[in-house]
């Protein structure tokens, strides 16, 4: 079923053959100019946390260390997200260019692509492209090498400091912060770690300039975003859209006409019920954008045939298994939430127990060590609060 008038963009996936030219051009510019462009563009991390990319590069360039590293986070593990796989399959050179320019800016000579273990099939084609890219780097005389590091399947290793631990041969467990990666990341050295999509966007900024990028999107959310659309939609797949779209418009374009909720940002994101579609925008949280939801790009649509209890149960099972187990709120809290909703559903606990669980979720949000434990409350609270009757009956 063909949909009409999708507000699609074609920036990221546009197959451009001018990599060498853009790289050469950008390398002639000063580090400060490059960083300034990134800051002006308003580019923020596309992995979900939304840290300003230009600032990250700036901090790492100012940090002192015997070595510095650039790492591309391709441990795409958020349920319902599959965009990085496509970017690395279709336009890997854009990502590599972003890494090389970052290396120049911060003074790194080694880069890594931390590739999700399940994306092993990408190792071979990527290696070929990296080899070619190294030839190009030799040509312009820049000493920088990119290697692929294959993950082993733990969701938590997508968290940047757990990712470093994993690369260093340790258990994939998040570190205490501070220090942040720009101060002490991989091997405790200043490190820039960017999402695949973020790096691909830097290419567009180098090519078209920051203003063009900034023209897209709204106030605090600039540029475009690649979305992984799944669930009850006739057209699941990867779509590049401008930031600032309302969920109403989104379900009109992508839903099956019966959407009752959209899960924005995967299992660790927020659930928006139908009545809030109109007033919710897709974008980073900011003062001027009103109710807006950040996302790594996962958009799951649920129609009225779906049980939101089952949806939440599924997410919680995921967290119970994928918590690293290190910190109390995440390890025990996830188990309690899962068992708790089961007990309420079975009638073993009264419906008031949900209030206790909501309080627990909030405490997990403020006490957990890393983003995983902190964000469990997002889906839990938004689903339980909006679909309470489905949790009980």
């Amino acid at each position: 079923m063909a949909k009409k008038n999708l507000q699609r963009l074609d920036l990221i996936f546009k197959n451009e053959q001018d990599g060498e030219q853009i790289l050469t051009k950008t390398f002639k510019r000063s580090n400060q100019d490059i960083v300034n462009d990134l800051i002006i563009s308003g580019l923020k991390g596309r992995g979900g946390a939304g840290y300003p990319t230009g600032l990250k590069w700036k901090l790492a360039s100012e940090a002192e260390g015997d070595f510095k590293y650039v790492i591309c986070n391709a441990d795409e593990g958020e349920p319902g997200t599959f965009k990085d796989r496509e970017i690395l399959s279709q336009v890997p050179v854009k990502v590599l260019i972003g890494m090389a320019v970052c290396a120049k800016v911060i003074g790194a000579h080694e880069g890594y692509i931390y590739l999700r273990g399940e994306y092993k099939f990408l190792v071979e084609p990527l290696t070929e492209i990296i080899d070619d890219f190294h030839v190009l780097l030799n040509k312009i005389g820049f000493d920088f090498r990119v290697k692929i590091f294959l993950g082993s399947g733990a969701y938590i290793c997508g968290e940047e400091s757990a990712l470093f631990e994993s690369m260093e041969g340790h258990r994939g467990e998040p570190r205490n912060k501070p220090p942040f990666p720009t101060q002490a990341g991989y091997r405790k050295m200043p490190t820039v770690i960017n999402n695949v999509e973020t790096l691909a966007h830097t290419y567009s900024i180098f090519k078209y300039g920051p203003d063009k990028f900034k023209d897209l999107g709204v106030q605090d959310s600039r540029g475009s975003k690649v979305f992984s659309v799944s669930g009850d939609t006739p057209i699941p797949g990867i779509y590049e859209l401008e930031f600032g779209m309302s969920l109403q418009k989104f379900v009109e374009d992508f839903g099956d006409g019966d959407a009752k909720a959209v899960q924005v940002g995967g299992a660790s994101g927020f659930c928006v019920p139908r009545k809030k579609f109109e007033n919710t925008k897709i974008g980073y949280q900011g003062k001027l954008t009103g109710v807006s939801l950040p996302t790594g790009g996962s958009m799951m649509i649920f129609n009225s045939s779906r049980s939101m209890y089952n949806v939440l149960h599924n997410y919680l099972e995921f967290f119970v298994e994928e918590s690293c187990g290190q910190c109390t709120p995440c390890r025990v809290g996830t188990q309690q939430l899962l068992l708790g909703i089961e007990a309420v559903k079975k009638g073993e606990k009264s419906s008031e127990y949900l209030e206790k669980l909501l309080g627990l979720a909030e405490n997990m949000r403020v006490t957990a060590k890393c983003g995983l434990g902190q964000s469990v409350a997002n889906s839990f609270s938004s689903i339980v609060e909006n679909f309470k009757e489905e949790m009980i009956y």
Binding site: A154, I156, R171, E173, N176, P178, F319, V320, E321, E322, S323, C324, G325, Q326, C327, T328, P329, R331, V332, G333, T334, Q335, Q336, L339, G340, A343, K356, G359, L360, N363, M364, R365, V366, T367, A368, K369, Q374
Partner: protein, 595 residues
């Protein structure tokens, strides 16, 4: 150093750059509860009990892991903090088998304290323990590991890794299955665990405890057929008071003897006696090895020689450096020498059938329990040491017996095997065996006292990780003329992480020592796994001071001047390293797997 100014609970405080919020709060005498934090260990920041509110930040921050920064405003007891902290404690209680009244750690469990402080009630969360298949590992004679009481704070993991560099315990699995496990979840007695008990000493709950033999000892005491002999290790007398409501650093030797007598032991003797004996045997072994290596050039004679008193160290080297076992002194530890003598020489002396003797030892150590159970420790024809109690277990027995420890009058050890020297007392501190050995060996060789003021060989004392000292031998007695001009090189290490450094340098040939003292525990036996809880550097330093105070106060300072030891050789052993000695006082070692 630059200073950081911040406020905690609206009170100004200034701390050094790099200090954590927890340290800053301590400065203000504000107590922030902690669980995974331990002063001896690196910061983990994983229990989240110590979270505090940082003004301007939506999320709470862990005070143990967050450095103070300029202008920070911290609240340690806001409603938000209290709710979150209570929630974290409630979660921990829900995954902990909270059958407190039946737990060995009842009353001294840190989780129990917090649960009581934060009024964790009945109507809490779902009990997770009931849903999991937990097993209790009670196969080791030293340590019991009960996963159902584990709260995953990883203090044990960090103790084993950081202090001991062993990694017998590590984190396995993730999510709900995450647990602290040995290699392939084998029982503790099958893996590289040295039984040192540093994990036991730092476990906040009852997940890791010493295997206690209190009831067995009570049964034996109350059996009229049995003659109960007890020996007490040097490090017990300077720490026992801590477990009975006294400050650290108190010497309670006389009270301890009085208490043991009241408990019903027939004979209260002293491991220090065999510590002196160890020095004679081990010192002579060292001199014999030096002769074998320097004069006879015998390739079978191995140098450097290492000490053998610490059973944690013995198990460690059996696992980690089996090729160096010929370097370990064959002398048994004082505990085992004592055991072997009690059921032979002593039994004969007091005319009691060794079969009817129950030999009990009080040790600062959990590894001593394992040592007493080694198959080779039956040289008397019986189990040489029947039951081993830690300092903590003895304190518990004293409490059970209703003895007001502080009010006891000092009493003296029984004789025979109750007299000792200051050299034996310092066995309890790192460097002590070395110092005691040097006091004796130097005098045997030269006929003169060691050239140190007041016999205090200070270079081998103190908390430095690895200590080195060299003594040049000049004008020796004629029979030791081959040692003339030889610089005797010694090395002392405490804690197995430091032992590893020393042994690696021996293996790669970088170190040229003659004699090495290794104690498995930080600070030596005074920091042993069986000592009162808590431990930290400050406490260990106070215990150390007490030990050297005790040494200074002894009328005899040198092992070879212990009159009972002299008499033992005259009456029974005849000479050091003689036939009887080899039969009773020396042992062999077993190479073990490295996992």
């Amino acid at each position: 150093m630059s200073k950081i100014n911040l406020t905690i609970d609206h009170i100004q405080v200034s701390v050094d750059k790099g200090a954590t919020i927890l340290e800053a709060a301590k400065k203000l005498n504000i107590k922030i509860p902690t669980l995974c934090y331990h002063e001896d260990l690196c910061v983990a920041g994983n229990c989240r009990v110590c979270v505090v509110e940082q003004m301007g930040s939506d999320r709470l921050v862990p005070s143990c892991a967050t450095p103070a920064s300029e202008g920070m405003e911290i609240l340690t007891n806001s409603l938000k903090v209290r709710n979150a902290r209570k929630s974290v404690i409630e979660l921990l209680v829900s995954e902990h088998r909270a059958e407190c009244t039946r737990c060995y750690k009842n009353g001294v469990c840190e989780l129990q304290h917090l649960s009581s402080e934060y009024l964790i009630g009945e109507d809490g969360l779902i009990d997770l323990v009931a849903l999991k298949n937990y097993t209790i590992d009670y196969f080791s004679p030293s340590i019991i590991k009960d996963d159902s009481k584990c709260i995953r704070c990883q203090r044990c993991v960090r103790s084993c890794d950081q202090l001991q560099n062993i990694g017998a315990l590590s984190v396995a699995y993730k999510g709900e299955k995450m647990k602290i496990a040995s290699f392939f979840e084998k029982p503790m007695y099958e893996v590289v665990c040295t039984n040192c008990g540093q994990c036991v000493n730092r476990c906040p709950t009852g997940a890791l405890i010493e295997r206690n033999y209190i009831d067995e000892v009570w049964s034996a005491i109350n059996n009229p057929q049995k003659h109960l002999v007890v020996q007490t290790a040097p490090a017990v007398r300077i720490a026992l008071g801590e477990a009975l409501g006294m400050e650290s650093g108190n010497i309670v030797t006389g009270r301890m003897v009085a208490a043991l007598r009241r408990l019903g032991f027939d004979s209260v003797l002293d491991t220090d006696f065999t510590a002196d004996l160890t020095i004679i045997e081990e010192g002579n072994e060292l001199l014999q090895r030096l002769k074998g290596a320097l004069v006879d050039k015998d390739p079978e004679v191995k140098l450097p020689m290492t000490t053998s008193c610490s059973p944690g160290w013995i198990k460690y080297i059996e696992h980690m450096y089996p090729q160096l076992l010929p370097n370990v002194s064959t002398a048994k530890s004082p505990q085992q020498m004592f055991g072997a003598l009690v059921k032979t020489y002593y039994a004969n002396k007091i005319k009691v059938d060794p079969e009817d003797i129950v030999s009990v030892s009080i040790m600062p150590c959990t590894a001593k329990k394992y040592e007493a159970n080694r198959p080779e420790m039956h040289s008397s024809g019986y189990k040489d040491v029947d039951l081993v109690l830690t300092t903590r277990e003895l304190a518990r027995m004293i409490e059970q017996a209703g003895i007001d420890f502080k009010a006891l009058e000092n009493e003296e050890f029984d004789s025979f095997m109750g007299v000792s020297s200051g050299a034996a007392v310092i066995f309890g501190a790192t460097g002590g065996v070395m110092e005691a050995a040097l006091r004796t060996a130097y005098e045997i060789v030269t006929g003169r006292e060691v050239p140190f003021d007041g016999l205090n060989i200070t270079p081998v004392r103190g908390m430095d990780e690895v200590k080195e000292a060299a003594i040049k031998i000049e004008n020796p007695l004629p029979e030791w003329s081959f040692l003339d001009g030889v610089e005797l090189k010694t090395c002392v290490a405490h804690g197995l992480a430091n032992a590893k450094k020393v042994m690696d340098s021996v293996v790669n040939g970088k170190a040229q020592y003659h004699f090495i003292e290794i104690m498995a525990c930080p600070g030596g036996c005074l920091g042993g796994g069986g000592q009162p809880i808590p431990t930290n550097m400050e406490i260990r330093k106070r215990r150390t001071e007490a030990i050297y105070r005790e040494d200074e106060g002894m009328p005899i300072r040198k092992s070879h001047e212990n009159p009972e030891v002299v008499k033992l050789y005259e009456e029974f052993l005849k000479k050091p390293l003689g036939h009887k000695s080899h039969e009773l006082l020396h042992t062999t070692y077993t190479p073990r797997n490295r996992y």
